[in-house]
């Protein structure tokens, strides 16, 4: 017996299982980053006045702005790749997926330069509490990006065979991946001003 409601919606809830699953996962992620954000606010308010602002001056705003734009672009390509499937255009879907991956790679490359510049100047997580929380938050976010890239890569490669056999199921999966990816983008939308601008 198959597990019901993996592809078609359950009539009374109007949802498929994976949709609920991914949203629950994202809810827990909200609380995970919530814990870290609260830690940030807690430490910032406890620190001497202006200390966090001062420590934050070492960050590179133009690079981070570029990174923000990259992530936003990757988000829009992600949703376009899903829309392409909905319009039955598999080829276009693949292009958009590849673009998403490309933007993400760009993000990582820039992040790599940012990190190594910091290390080069002797700025480490242990240097002060601001850098500690900065490296923790962005590091965890980078891990989320890498995780997402692995999944996207899978659906771009071997995972895409499912399109031929079970298109409906495949679309659902891409939508799920997309939800995750937008969430990662969303986290960055808050990380960016909080860490770089304030």
């Amino acid at each position: 017996m198959e597990i019901p409601y993996t592809i078609e919606e359950r009539p009374d809830t109007g949802l498929i299982n994976s949709k609920i699953g991914i949203w629950l996962f994202l809810a827990s992620e909200v609380m995970l980053f919530g814990g870290l954000f609260s830690a940030y606010v807690f430490l910032r308010l406890g620190a001497p006045d202006g200390a966090f602002h001062e420590w934050g001056q070492v960050l590179n705003v133009p690079l981070a702005t570029l990174n923000t734009l990259l992530l936003i672009s990757s988000s829009v390509t992600m949703v376009m790749s899903w829309a392409s499937l909905k319009m039955n255009n598999f080829k276009q879907h693949k292009i958009y997926m590849a673009l998403t991956l490309l933007c993400a790679t760009g993000f990582l490359v820039i992040k790599y330069f940012e990190y190594s510049a910091k290390f080069h100047h002797g700025l480490f997580p242990a240097t002060n509490t601001f850098l500690a929380i900065y490296f923790t938050l962005t590091g965890l976010h980078v891990l989320h990006i890498i995780g997402g890239m692995i999944v996207i890569g899978y659906f771009l490669g071997p995972g895409s065979r499912m399109w031929a056999t079970e298109p409906e199921h495949f679309i659902n999966r891409i939508e799920t991946v997309g939800l995750y990816w937008h969430f990662v983008d969303l986290v960055w939308i808050f990380l960016f001003p909080v860490l770089y601008l304030l």
Binding site: M1, E2, I3, P4, Y5, R10, T13, L15, I16, N17, I20, G21, L24, F25, A27, S28, E29, V30, M31, L32, F33, G34, G35, L36, S38, A39, F42, L43, G46, A47, A51, F124, P125, A126, T127, N128, T129, A132, I133, T136, L140
Partner: protein, 579 residues
């Protein structure tokens, strides 16, 4: 569902290789059993740790018999080992014992059955959840074999102590796996309950056990991540040299600590208790669920005030997120915060009282059968009552000044978790054993297990209130021998320890019973307790991967016992009423 498909399916599954069927199984029943066996072993292990510690408390600095040679220190339990064992007892009992048994085992096995589903919504995730738990458990227990030994800063792991004590790193890594496991599990439970309910099984027809598991899963889902965040921060402190939890200017054994400082020890306490308070309701809610099932079945009448119980657990779950700082009254909290948390703490006792009252009142007018599951379930009520009521003085900050971090607290929560939750879990094992194996456990051995357990549990934990009132601190290696104010209550230590060892002996009938009954128990049919909920519609044990021959259709509320003018005193949920 055409029957031919089912037979076809189950046949293919019969040919599954052993490893797919029993080790990396995706069948919720096998995973449930894996969880059950593993967590019982951990429970036993956690119990053994405290039995060793209780020797030191009863006979300070005398060599420990039997296991003494393993402990080093000439057989004497050294203070640092005592602290390790204490921290690991707490951690193992809660994170590796009770939660996996209550949620992983009972939840996994019986949620799909009680809602008439073929499996959990995400079988592979389910398997991942078990293995993540297993790895976390192995890491935790493995820490005993590392040169530094396991964590020694209490299960609460308060920094700065936890930042500087040995062993803590492994504890944190283990916790990350355990947290991951719980998150995956709770996603699965919630989705399953929302999506896979059998036709006709509306929200207000769900068995109370399902409701309790549903709320529990939400607590795990939303409360655990902040602890995961805190664990990451503590790991950073230990491995990368940050100072999230370390203020400036620390001097450890005469040396200034070489860190940047600027952190806050209280930050950890907030993040920890943001999880750990909901976590204690994770320990109790499934237990209440089990007790509800057993009571309805053995009083042969519906649960009184089912709806108020359901609203009660939902409200309880909600409130449990906003009481956490009642563990921190003594950290220098101001009036506004303490008033807020005292008030929420008093409020949260109300839904507990409502749920418990409903269960008491359910007894009135029943036709009560005193079989083993029912005995454990009945004992749960007053035992939880004692534990819960002693929570009230702790929740009043003024009274907590005297009682905080004394044995009174230890007594309070052991009454809720040991003769409370553990008894409920025993009730669940006796009650559902026939479903899992097709055989009943022995009633005689069951009673031999119950009565001594009840007596000795009280023997251990009742004197703790006395010691706590006297002001004896917890986590004392010598049980208070050093202190004058403890001198009047020290004589209880030996009594408590002997009770604990006898409690250990009292578990022998249980272990024999489990092993014996798997092969030799009395064979029973599908529904030996004449119960109404859906799990009893499936064969015993239920069919691999599919559970039911045919997904049942549900017609009415969960506990239709002794409906007037019916010939049988129970009407299963899937039996249409013929008026």
């Amino acid at each position: 569902m055409e029957p031919c498909k089912v037979t076809h399916n189950s046949e293919t599954h019969h040919n599954e290789p052993f490893i797919r069927k029993y080790i990396f199984s995706v069948d919720h029943k096998i995973i449930g059993l894996q969880y059950g066996i593993t967590s019982l072993l951990f429970l036993f292990f956690g119990f053994c740790l405290i039995l060793i510690m209780r020797w030191q408390l009863a006979y300070p600095e005398e060599p420990v018999p039997i296991v003494g040679s393993l402990l080093g220190g000439g057989g004497i339990l050294l203070p640092e080992i005592y602290n390790s064992l204490g921290a690991m007892h707490g951690t193992i009992m809660i994170f590796l014992g009770v939660v996996p048994l209550a949620v992983g085992a009972f939840g996994n096995y019986f949620i799909p059955l009680q809602i008439g589903a073929p499996d959990m919504a995400f079988p592979k995730l389910n398997m991942a959840s078990y293995w993540s738990y297993f790895i976390g458990g192995v890491i935790m227990v493995g820490s005993f074999f590392t040169p530094d030994g396991p964590a020694r800063s209490g299960w609460t792991s308060y920094p700065p102590l936890a930042d500087i004590e040995v062993g803590q790193t492994i504890w944190l890594i283990g916790m990350v796996f355990l947290i991951t496991s719980s998150l995956l599990g709770s996603i699965n439970v919630i989705t399953t309950i929302i999506q896979l309910r059998a036709p006709g099984l509306t929200w207000m027809r769900l068995p109370f056990f399902i409701w309790s598991q549903f709320v529990t899963a939400f607590l795990l889902l939303l409360a655990f991540p902040p602890l995961e965040a805190a664990a990451v921060l503590q790991l950073m402190d230990r491995l990368v040299g940050t100072s999230f939890f370390l203020p400036s200017g620390l001097i450890i054994s005469g040396e200034q600590l070489a860190v940047s400082g600027g952190g806050s020890p209280l930050l950890w306490q907030h993040l920890f208790w943001f999880l750990a308070h909901p976590e204690v309701y994770v320990l109790i809610l499934p237990a209440m669920g089990i007790v509800g099932e057993v009571i309805a079945n053995n009083t042969r009448k519906p649960l009184w005030g089912y709806k108020s119980m359901v609203y009660g657990v939902v409200f309880l779950g909600f409130m449990s997120f906003i009481v956490w700082a009642h563990h921190m009254f003594i950290t220098g909290m101001g009036t506004a915060m303490s008033s807020f948390f005292q008030t929420t703490t008093m409020i949260i006792s109300i839904p507990s009282i409502i749920i418990l009252s409903a269960m008491f009142i359910s007894l009135w007018g029943g036709s009560i059968r005193f079989n083993t599951p029912m005995l454990f379930a009945l004992a749960f009520l007053p035992m939880f009552g004692i534990g819960g009521l002693t929570g009230l003085p702790l929740g009043l900050a003024a009274a907590d000044i005297h009682l905080h971090d004394t044995y009174y607290v230890i007594g309070h929560f052991h009454y809720v978790v040991a003769p409370g939750t553990i008894f409920a879990l025993f009730a669940g094992i006796y009650y559902w054993f026939p479903k899992m194996t097709g055989r009943k456990m022995s009633e005689l051995l069951g009673k031999l297990h119950f009565w001594p357990s009840l007596i000795f549990m009280n023997g251990i934990f009742m004197p703790m209130f006395i010691q706590g009132l006297a002001g004896v601190s917890r986590r004392l290696w010598d049980g208070g021998l050093e202190y004058a104010h403890a001198s009047g209550v020290l004589q209880w230590n030996e009594f408590m320890s002997v009770s604990a060892w006898l409690l250990g002996l009292a578990q022998i009938p249980f272990i024999i019973n489990v092993i014996y009954s798997i092969k030799n128990g009395e064979k029973v049919g599908r529904n030996p307790w004449e119960s109404t909920t859906l799990e009893w519609v499936a064969p015993s044990p239920p069919l691999p991967h599919v559970n039911f021959e045919k997904i049942p259709q549900v017609y009415h509320s969960p506990y239709e016992y002794s409906v007037p003018d019916r010939e049988k005193d129970f009407t299963p949920q899937n039996e249409p009423i013929k008026e």
